[in-house]
């Protein structure tokens, strides 16, 4: 069990232990009170001792061993059912049948202990099943079924079910809290790193990059390479990681694509979209940029623009490469060669967005993707 969940589960298990001890005390008093009427008094004392010893053992186990609880709970159930079933031998026939006068079975409410433990350990289904098991043995020990026994059964099963629900909900809440805390710590650490790297490495690399065009040959090439690293580092720290909400900042994700050949223009505020949409739009942008790199020649530059219109987000990718005759594009698609156009069109169609392609010989290529958004302006 992970450290974080033990934190929330520990008090619940403490509750299980306290409940067990109190119900054991009640069972012992009940046995003492009804002892005179027992068919087998000696066996009654043995059962009393059994309840006392098992309570001590299982409480110690629940308190100190956090690892093998499922086996312990099953063993607990078997021991409890055995003691409960022994009522059939110990109690006299009158005591067993006079349900109206409420002579309880030897184990009385103590028998609900394993139900509570199972619910805390494994949730509502386990809680309810354990409740059924105890109810069945209850009926078997009595040897008949009445409305009173039905009420007991419903209480047992219901308790297991509801407590299981509560335990699962508590565990989930605790895990979520832990995740959020960790994300917060990670963000703080990332910001600290970003500040520190910005003040040192990025400054030097940017300077090297700015000098690149005055250096010749290998030195110039090295300077340009160093410059690429500067852009990559800066963008890495500028991008926001996917949040717990399933939304991500499209602007931050696209800025990772900036390079000396690619300029990315975005608003100062985040452009939140579902993470899956962000991934697809980034993939579309990558394909368009890769296409420029393949066909645009070494000097071609690209620009990426993100606009948040509230109801929709507009992504524009343009290059100043040679451009394509639109007849060629259509021809390529008709010939079954999907190519970049088909791939981008496919992705955009899957997104439910619209695509406009503006290109022509000598005009460069401009892709415009418009994605409608259900909820405008969140996380501003």
């Amino acid at each position: 069990m992970a450290a974080g969940t033990t934190d929330i589960m520990t008090p619940l298990w403490r509750g299980v232990v306290v409940f067990r001890a109190i119900t054991a005390a009640f069972a012992i008093i009940a046995i003492t009170v009804h002892h005179d009427g027992f068919a087998r008094p000696v066996l009654g004392w043995v059962a009393l001792a059994g309840i006392a010893v098992w309570t001590v053992l299982i409480c110690l186990a629940y308190s100190y061993d956090p690892t093998r609880r499922l086996q312990m709970i099953v063993i607990d159930l078997l021991v409890t059912l055995t003691l409960m079933g022994s009522s059939a031998l110990v109690l006299s026939t009158e005591q067993l049948t006079e349900v109206a006068q409420r002579t309880p079975l030897l184990t009385t409410v103590w028998a609900s202990g394993p139900v509570v433990a199972a619910a805390v350990h494994s949730g509502r289904v386990a809680g309810a099943l354990f409740g059924v098991a105890v109810a069945v043995v209850d009926v078997w020990a009595r040897g008949f079924f009445t409305i009173d026994l039905a009420r007991d059964a419903i209480l047992l099963v219901g308790t297991g079910f509801v407590l299981g629900l509560a335990a699962t909900a508590a565990r989930r809440a605790s895990e979520q809290l832990r995740r959020l805390t960790r994300a917060e710590a990670a963000t703080a650490e990332r910001e600290r790193l970003a500040r520190s790297i910005h003040d040192s490495v990025v400054q030097v690399l940017a300077r090297v990059r700015a000098r690149a065009d005055q250096l010749d040959g290998e030195a110039g090439e090295l300077a340009r390479l160093a410059g690429e690293q500067e852009i990559a580092l800066r963008c890495l720290f500028a991008a926001t990681p996917p949040g717990a909400t399933g939304e991500q900042d499209l602007a931050g994700a696209l800025r990772l694509l900036a390079s000396s050949r690619v300029e990315v223009s975005v608003p100062a505020t985040a452009v939140p979209l579902p993470t899956a949409d962000v991934d697809e739009l980034v993939a579309v942008t990558r394909e368009a940029l890769a296409n420029t790199a393949r066909h645009g020649g070494p000097e071609a530059k690209s620009w990426v623009l993100v606009e948040d219109l509230g109801a929709e987000v507009v992504l524009t990718v343009r290059d100043d490469g040679p451009g394509v005759d639109s007849g060629q594009l259509v021809g390529a698609q008709c010939a079954g060669r999907m190519g970049v156009s088909g791939s981008i069109r496919g992705r955009v169609a899957d997104l439910g967005a619209t695509l406009t392609l503006d290109t022509g010989p000598g005009r460069g290529t401009e892709w415009e993707v418009r994605l409608a958004r259900a909820r405008p302006g969140v996380a501003r």
């Binding site: 910005h198 003040d199 990025v202 400054q203 030097v204 940017a206 300077r207 990059r209 700015a210 000098r211 690149a212 065009d213 005055q214 410059g227 500067e230 852009i231 800066r234 963008c235 720290f237 500028a238 800025r255 000396s260 300029e263 990315v264 223009s265 975005v266 608003p267 100062a268 505020t269 530059k301 690209s302 620009w303 623009l305 993100v306 606009e307 948040d308 219109l309 509230g310 524009t316 343009r318 100043d320 401009e366 405008p376 302006g377 501003r380």
Partner: protein, 239 residues
């Protein structure tokens, strides 16, 4: 002038006032504000070699504000983040433009912190350049800034578009709006078109394109000043 971090706190040893009057009176006077020594000294040297007169360097905004009145530069090259406490680059820009409206501020930022760039531009900066820009781009930008032009990069156009749209979406009170033409021009700049290309595409003059671009920046700066003034009056901050 060695490292700046400690100096910036204790003393402004990094603030070197280099007055080289006499031979270069007509040269554009530049002040470089940057906490990073490699940048401060490197940019100062580069600009000096290209015929600018670097009249001062400062390690942070506070140091810049202390000496600016004495050196009266034409253009301030402003970094946005300083390691020291005190005013940020955006705050310093606002102070400079408020007190010396004829001094031009050009933001030179390594950070991708777009919100800070936007704040500096709203505070009156004439434009912004990434530190990764080449020396030729920097020289061109300083020259154009000195002439009173806005240095409009694609990135800045994207930022301004985003800000106008944010104000429209948030239904901000008395927020300036872009005309359709201005929006179109800004979009074209943001996807890398030059003023000449835009002029051709929209069948307008090159000057008209420049005017549209300047107007988008001015409206935003004016709105920002009005908002600040209103805030000051509402909160009783005026003398």
């Amino acid at each position: 002038m060695t490292d700046s971090r400690g100096d910036a706190v204790t003393d402004s040893r990094g603030d070197a006032v280099t007055d080289r009057r006499g031979d270069g009176r007509s040269a554009t006077r530049v002040m470089v504000v940057d906490d990073h020594p490699i940048w401060r000294d490197g940019v100062a040297r580069d600009l000096g070699e290209r015929g600018f007169e670097v009249v001062a360097t400062a390690v942070d905004g506070a140091a810049a504000l202390r000496i600016i009145a004495a050196v009266r530069p034409d253009v301030v090259l402003m970094d946005l983040h300083f390691g020291s406490a005190g005013p940020s680059g955006a705050d310093t820009t606002r102070c400079i433009i408020d007190r010396w409206p004829d001094i031009k501020v050009l933001v030179l930022s390594a950070s991708g912190a777009h919100a800070d760039v936007l704040a500096a531009v709203q505070g009156g900066a004439s434009g912004y350049l990434m530190k990764s820009a080449s020396l030729d781009e920097l020289v061109d930008a300083v020259r154009r800034t000195a002439e009173g032009d806005a240095v409009f990069t694609a990135g800045l156009a994207g930022l301004l578009l985003g800000e106008y749209r944010r104000m429209a979406l948030d239904r901000e009170r008395d927020a300036p709006r872009l005309t359709e033409r201005e929006t179109e021009v800004l979009r074209q700049v943001a996807i890398g078109h030059t003023a000449r290309q835009i002029a051709e595409a929209l069948v307008i003059s090159h000057r008209t394109v420049e005017n549209h671009v300047q107007s988008t920046l001015r409206k935003l700066q004016l709105h920002n000043r009005v908002e600040l003034a209103r805030y000051a009056i509402e909160h009783g901050l005026t003398q």
